[in-house]
Structures are given as structure tokens and as C-alpha cells.
């Protein structure tokens, strides 16, 4: 009797704990946004959402092994993988990946790099900033005779997945030699941990090039390159151009929202756009309800900060589709 009541007391206390604390981990790509949402959420509801930005690889791994309440990844998982690991998936926002550089004296969007050239730089085939191939598209820029330091990720990263997906599509040699993945065997460069680490190394290292989510570029005043659309037109990483890509997304509940947004058609579609996703363990219904509450609340009140940071909020109809997905799964 005593034991029984003790057990139920224990269960009750863990439930109470569950209600005001959530642990999430994963993608660094949306981390600035989730930090912001979590900060506001704690201020308004008292629920603490402890989000640790450890990379998408970490997010998938830790939610698969049920070590966190929710995982975050910018590499969407296919339905069969989700089924196998008993996971649910929905997008939380859209962002764009910017090719950033640090060349003293050269400003934002001053350098134009064709998509294929970006691949050659990350392959280590183009090693200097004043390489004729770069010069050809930048006749008026005073390109320095300096070695290019390539900065990439050291951890398993959804940003890397989307970036290498893009490189594989636009550069044949990249596809053959390196391929697509969250962590690849990089031909050159040095590795920073998270979008944070890459941004930091690019900031610290003159004549470097890297790739980070738009929010990191903005918050840290980095310079980004103008790249090309799938159809070969010059395009800058602006909000409108990212939106132009995002509008091609075909979100559907059936595929658990699986969607890759890189290289969409259209004359002003920025080529490296990606959704960022949340992964939930199917069996933890109560916990999932709490997680969903947080995202529902952020969908309602968080668009403004998303835009300020440089993300594209999901359109209202997509949000409603997600809500109905939650309802189907019995967690909303």
C-alpha cells in the first residue's frame, strides 16, 4: 500500500517536472531562433525549454536514443526511417545558408561566385582569392593574392547536409569525390563546431570562406557572396529571395513533411534554402504535448523575432497543416 502510493507520488512528481521543463538538442541552424522562443516562453509561461545547440547529427542521435525530449535537425528524415525509430517530424521554420567570407576591405555581396565555383573552392581546386576563375565574374573587385582558408563544420550538421546537397547538384566532381551528408570527408579546410564555430573561425581568420545560416551572418555582420539560382542568374541571400524559394515547398502530412528546398526553380529563388525540423519520440505522449504547446505558442507569437533574426516563418496554412498532423497523432 505504502509502496503503491510512493510510486504514484513519484510518478506525479515526474509529471509535474515534465510540465515546466523540456530538454531539446540538435541543429545549430535554428538555434538563435529557438533560444529566442524559449526565452520568451519561459518569461510568459514559466516553462523552461533547455535547447542545446549541438548539431543536427547530435539532435537525431539523442532523440533516437530517447536522451532528450525533442531533437532538432535540418536534414529531414524519410518516413520509413521515422517509422523504424518511432519518431514524428514537423518543420519549425525556414532559413537560408549563406556563403560567407572575411576579406579585409571587401563588403557584403561584393563578391559573386557561381555555384560551381563555390564547389571548386570547397574542393580545394581554387586556392587563391585572385584565381582567374573568380576574377572573371568579379572584374571590378580588388581580389587579394592570398590563400583561401576554407572553414567547414567539424560536427554532424544539417547545415552541412543542405550545403553538400547543393554542392553535389551544382558540381560534378564534388558529387563524385565527397557527396552529400551531415559529416563528410572534407578535402580541405578547418572545422568549427556548430554554425557558431564556423562563424567564429571566419570572423577570426582573414581570407577565409565558410557557410552559415543567415541569422549567424546578420548577428555577426559577416559578408556574404552573391551566388546563382538554379537557372544561373545572380542572386543575393535576401528575405524576398529566400521566400521565393520557400513558396515552392510542398509540405505534406503523409511524408512527415520531408522536404528539401535547395535549388528551386524561379529567377530569384535563392539556391540554398532549407527547412528546419523537430523530431519527437512517438511513445512519450505527455511530453510531446508539452513540446507541441511550446511550438504552437511560438508559431502564434514568434514570427516577428524569426523575421528579425533572418528566418522565414512558415506560412499560416503550413502551420495549420502541422497542427492537424499533431491532432492526428493525438498530441494536440
Amino acid at each position: 500500500m505504502l509502496r503503491k502510493s510512493l510510486v504514484s507520488l513519484l510518478a506525479a512528481s515526474t509529471l509535474m517536472m515534465a510540465a515546466d521543463k523540456l530538454n531539446g538538442a540538435g541543429a545549430t541552424f535554428p538555434a538563435p531562433l529557438y533560444y529566442d522562443w524559449a526565452y520568451t516562453y519561459e518569461k510568459t509561461t514559466g516553462t523552461k525549454v533547455n535547447y542545446q545547440s549541438i548539431g543536427s547529427g547530435g539532435g537525431i542521435k539523442q532523440v533516437k536514443s530517447r536522451i532528450v525530449d525533442f531533437g532538432a535537425s535540418d536534414e529531414p528524415l524519410q518516413s520509413d526511417v521515422l517509422k523504424k525509430d518511432k519518431l514524428m517530424q514537423f518543420p519549425a521554420a525556414i532559413g537560408s545558408i549563406v556563403v560567407v567570407y572575411n576579406i579585409p576591405g571587401i563588403k557584403d555581396n561584393e563578391i559573386k561566385l557561381k555555384n560551381e565555383i563555390v564547389g571548386d573552392i570547397f574542393l580545394g581546386k581554387i586556392t587563391k582569392w585572385n584565381d582567374p576563375k573568380i576574377k572573371a565574374d568579379n572584374p571590378n573587385v580588388n581580389l587579394p593574392d592570398k590563400e583561401i582558408t576554407v572553414v567547414h563544420r567539424s560536427d554532424g550538421s544539417g547545415t552541412t547536409f543542405n550545403f553538400t546537397y547543393y554542392l553535389s547538384e551544382v558540381n560534378k566532381e564534388w558529387k563524385e569525390k565527397v557527396g552529400t551528408g551531415k559529416a563528410v570527408d572534407w578535402p580541405v579546410g578547418l572545422g568549427g563546431k556548430g554554425n557558431e564555430g564556423v562563424t567564429n573561425y571566419v570572423k577570426q581568420t582573414p581570407f577565409s570562406i565558410g557557410y552559415v545560416e543567415q541569422a549567424y551572418k546578420r548577428q555577426n555582420n559577416l559578408s556574404g557572396a552573391t551566388v546563382t539560382t538554379a537557372s544561373g542568374k545572380w542572386v543575393e541571400a535576401t528575405e524576398d529571395n529566400a521566400k521565393a524559394s520557400a513558396k515552392y515547398a510542398k509540405w505534406s502530412k503523409d511524408g512527415d513533411f520531408y522536404q528539401i528546398l535547395a535549388l528551386q526553380p524561379g529567377d530569384n529563388s535563392y539556391p540554398i534554402v532549407a527547412g528546419t525540423f523537430i523530431l519527437l519520440p512517438e511513445e512519450k505522449a505527455d511530453m510531446n504535448k508539452d513540446v507541441v504547446k511550446f511550438f504552437d505558442n511560438s508559431f502564434k507569437n514568434g514570427d516577428k523575432s524569426a523575421i528579425e533574426l533572418g528566418y522565414i516563418p512558415l506560412p499560416e496554412e503550413t502551420k495549420n497543416l502541422i497542427r492537424s498532423y499533431w491532432k492526428d497523432k493525438g498530441i494536440y
Binding site: A25, I54, G55, S56, G57, G58, G59, I60, K61, Q62, K64, T149, S154, D155, G156, T164, G179, T180, G181, K182, A183, V184, D185, W186, G189, L190, G191, G192, K193, Y201, Q204, T205, F207, S208
Partner: protein, 286 residues
């Protein structure tokens, strides 16, 4: 009653002393068990395989092992002479006042958490390396440098202690025979302190090869064999810090445990070697 309590107490203490042994064995067993899929798949060729590509599920430990060995080697080559110089200065040259204050600050430096060395290395030392040696400042050389700065106080402090154990009477008789300071150091102090000095250097080596935080900020975190000393590379602890929390595939996870097992074995051998050959303390019989 009296004896029962005594036996109880003795058994309790013996059990806890044996616990240390149990933990050591448990570490080996747990690491081995978790590493098994990688050990089965690669065997010892894991040590020489060069490619580490998680997206293709290929894992070779050579770059990380090489990075560990090279960064430690650089650190030892830089730190040992400086540390021994400092020890000579402290035990034989410095005036008494400086001896204590400088000696104490060296010991305090050895107590600073290694993550702080890493921060200092990234923000202050890497740019200096970039200026002097070229490259981008992040790489093997910088990693070795930071390790050297981290371990030289440790070597210096122990070496000084060993040198200080030389009986004054030996030194004084040598001076009386007309020996210079260097003669005394070379022929009296160093032979007397040799075992302790070598032992401390090997202990420092053990510490350097297992160090994570001081190195991960500056070594570059890439599985690549450096062709220049300033190139980016990785080491075993750095690889673990970067990838352990996210190793999704079974083989990736197991390969990281394989690396951890190798590191543990290397440090075990290094330290055991130092202990058995140089630092064997003879316990005074009571």
C-alpha cells in the same frame, strides 16, 4: 565485539581500495564492449586506415592517432627544455626571494583549468602563430604550442623538486674541488635527479596526449594528415569531444569508443612505464 569491528573496518577499507581496481577494469571492459562492432569490422587496420567519412560510414583512426602523437611530440620538444631550464634557474641560480615567489606562481599556473588555455590560445595565440609561421593560425603547430604552455609548469615544478633533493654536501664538495655551477648541475644534480626528471616528463606526456579542451579550440578539427606543420588536423580527445554526442550510426559510435579505448591504452602504457621505471617510490618500512 572489538575484533568484529576491526574486521569490518578492515574489510570495508579493503573493498574500497579494490574499487579503484574494479573501475580501471570496468573502463577497459565497457570501452571494449562498446567498440566491438568497429573492432570486428576493422580489426587493427583501424589504426592505419586514413579515411574518416561518416556520410559513407567509413572510419579510420590514423589521422586522429597521428594528430595526438604529433601534437604531443611538438609539445614535449618545446616544453621539456624550457621546463628544465626553469628548474635549473629555480634550484641553482635564482636568489632565495625569487625562488619562492616564482616557484609558487609556476605551480599556480599548473592549476589553471585547461579550457582557459584553450580560450587564450584561440583569441590571443593563434593570431601570433599565423603572423610568424603563416597558414591560418589554426592547426597542429598551434595545438602543440598550447599543450606545451599547459605542461611546462608541471614539468618544471616536479623537476625542481627532484633537483632540490640533491644533498647540499655533495654539491659543496664539488664546488670545493673547483667545479663551476654547470659542472655541479651536470655531474651532481642531474645524475641525482635523473629518474625523477624523466618520470615527470613522461607523466606530462601522458597528460598532454589525453588533453581535450586546450587543443580543441585551435587544432582545426579535421580528420586529415597534415602536410605542413601549420595544417589543421585532429586528435583522439578532440574527435571525441566533437563527435561523441552525435554519432548516429552504430559503426560511428563504436569507432569513437575504439578511439577512446586506444587512447586509454596508450595513456595506461605511458604512465605505467613512467611509474615502473622511473618513479618507483620505495616506501619506508614503518
Amino acid at each position: 565485539m572489538k575484533y568484529m569491528m576491526d574486521t569490518l573496518f578492515e574489510n570495508l577499507t579493503r573493498f574500497l581500495a579494490l574499487l579503484v581496481l574494479v573501475v580501471l577494469v570496468a573502463v577497459f571492459v565497457v570501452l571494449y564492449n562498446n567498440a566491438e562492432p568497429a573492432i570486428e569490422k576493422y580489426g587493427l587496420s583501424f589504426v592505419t586506415n586514413e579515411k574518416w567519412a561518416p556520410n559513407m560510414n567509413i572510419f579510420g583512426g590514423f589521422p586522429a592517432i597521428l594528430g595526438s602523437v604529433l601534437s604531443t611530440l611538438i609539445a614535449m620538444l618545446l616544453a621539456t627544455p624550457i621546463a628544465i631550464g626553469i628548474a635549473i634557474f629555480l634550484s641553482e641560480i635564482a636568489p632565495a626571494k625569487l625562488k619562492t615567489s616564482f616557484g609558487v606562481s609556476i605551480e599556480l599556473l599548473a592549476a589553471i583549468p585547461s579550457v582557459i588555455y584553450g580560450m587564450w590560445g584561440l583569441f590571443y595565440f593563434a593570431p601570433v602563430v599565423r603572423e610568424i609561421f603563416g597558414g591560418n593560425g589554426i592547426g597542429l603547430l598551434t595545438g602543440g604550442f598550447i599543450l606545451a604552455v599547459m605542461i611546462f609548469p608541471f614539468i618544471a615544478a616536479i623537476t625542481r623538486d627532484s633537483m632540490n633533493t640533491t644533498p647540499d654536501i655533495l654539491k659543496e664538495s664539488a664546488y670545493a674541488l673547483g667545479a663551476t655551477k654547470w659542472d655541479v648541475i651536470k655531474d651532481v644534480v642531474i645524475p641525482y635527479a635523473k629518474a625523477g626528471v624523466i618520470g615527470s616528463v613522461i607523466l606530462a606526456l601522458g597528460r598532454a596526449i589525453g588533453e581535450t579542451m586546450a587543443v580543441t579550440f585551435v587544432i582545426g578539427n579535421v580528420h586529415q594528415i597534415p602536410s605542413l606543420i601549420t595544417d589543421a588536423t585532429t586528435s583522439i580527445p578532440v574527435t571525441l569531444a566533437n563527435e561523441f554526442n552525435e554519432a548516429e550510426s552504430k559503426l560511428h559510435y563504436a569507432s569513437l569508443f575504439y578511439l577512446a579505448l586506444l587512447l586509454f591504452a596508450i595513456s595506461f602504457i605511458v604512465i605505467a612505464f613512467a611509474k615502473f621505471y622511473f618513479l618507483r617510490k620505495v616506501r619506508k618500512a614503518k
